[in-house]
Amino acid sequence: MEWDWDFVRQILPTLIEGVKITILATLLGSVLAAVVGLGIALARRSPNRALSRTVGFVAEFIRGTPLLVQLYFIFYVLPDFGVLLPPLVAGVIGLGLHYGTYTAEVYRAGIDNVPRGQWEAAKACNLNATQTWTHIIIPQAIPPMIPALANYFIAMFKETPLLSAITVLELMNQAKSVANTYYRYIEPITLVGAFFLAISLFSVVLLRWLEHRYGRIER
């Protein structure tokens, strides 16, 4: 089997369509994971025991089951309960929830790293709980955890081919379909690898920059 550049040129536009969906799913999934993670982290710190335990249990459950199974559940099982989601939406929800349980741990560590004196100073300044979180704790907790969050988002990016299992037309799915149409796998699948590698390498450079920029907070 030989490498066929003409075939590459022929399938490239289709694959680029797939790359766009892959990047879109990663970006939306990252935003959702960031929000869900913060929600879980805050709920687990809640003085309301029922809330913190329930959320803790659900997060543990999501983390302890494979993303692929969750995607199947969201896309193929939820319709039985009347929840019918487009593939990309289901995929983003799956990625966001799954990785949200991981980013929650990053938030927890970030929040724990804010010294106790900051909470006490906020109280001495008579800030209420919401003001303390939004003005004092979260702004200090987030910068040091940006590199760790970005790490999870890169990991998420590399798991987006799982979305092909629920018919999302992302890069892997597009590659599979052109491969199945022409019975040639070497070019499409190699290109998938190349695309992922290129974007990952770029992301790692970005990550190093983020680490340099936000990795430490001066006191």
Binding site: E120, K123, A124, N126, L127, Q131, I136, Q140, E218, R219
Partner: protein, 261 residues
Amino acid sequence: MSAPIIKIDGISKSFGTFKVLDGLSMQVMPGEKLALIGPSGSGKTTILRILMTLERIDSGHIQVDGEHLYHMERNGRLLTADERHLAKMRQKIGMVFQLFNLFPHKCVIDNVTLAPMLTKGVPRAAAEKRAMELLDMVGMVDKAKAMPAQLSGGQKQRVAIARALALSPKIMLFDEVTSALDPELVDEVLNVMRKLAAETDMTMLLVTHEMGFAHDFADRVLFFDRGRIVEEGKPDEIFRHPKQERTQGFLKKIIAAGHRV
């Protein structure tokens, strides 16, 4: 003779099995400058933390400015204070910490304006004007735009004092505010406190190991040991002629350790 601004009545506080405060009672008059001295673990810092509502009491009563701190009256009955009542009471009290606890992500002037803008709805312009006055008082105007990390310990502590003053409390609590400072930076903070005492009639409670400063500054000195007040009196009485054996022993140790009296 006016009523006391702080009335502490039989309060106890334990951390686990360690009893920090044991049925303590004391009163502070408006405008009074009070120094709390004693060995570490004697409960003096805990009193400040309790007044700032950073620690709860196990039993007893505290009144601040004529109102219960940890209780509230509803239809003639005393109930445990809710967060709203505590927030109202905290307006009367400001605190300066040993480790400054400035907000490191905010510049100096924002540290000072944050609380008035958020808790009292003061407009930014007015809050900044007041902040500049306070920063002027502590000699930090030229650092208004600096970040806390760029300041020395003494400068941080002066900003922390301005921040606490920004809410115009009636009572200021100073918790070992010079203990974390290099020796050459201690005086700049103490001078600010002297100025504050001279220019305002604020009630000030001061936990300190600076015996010389306590002597000059305080109207009254309380010596604490094991959660109780062992001896109290005018600075001269306590520092020059302590009556209690434990006070004498403590002062002797402090002097031997090189602290100025």
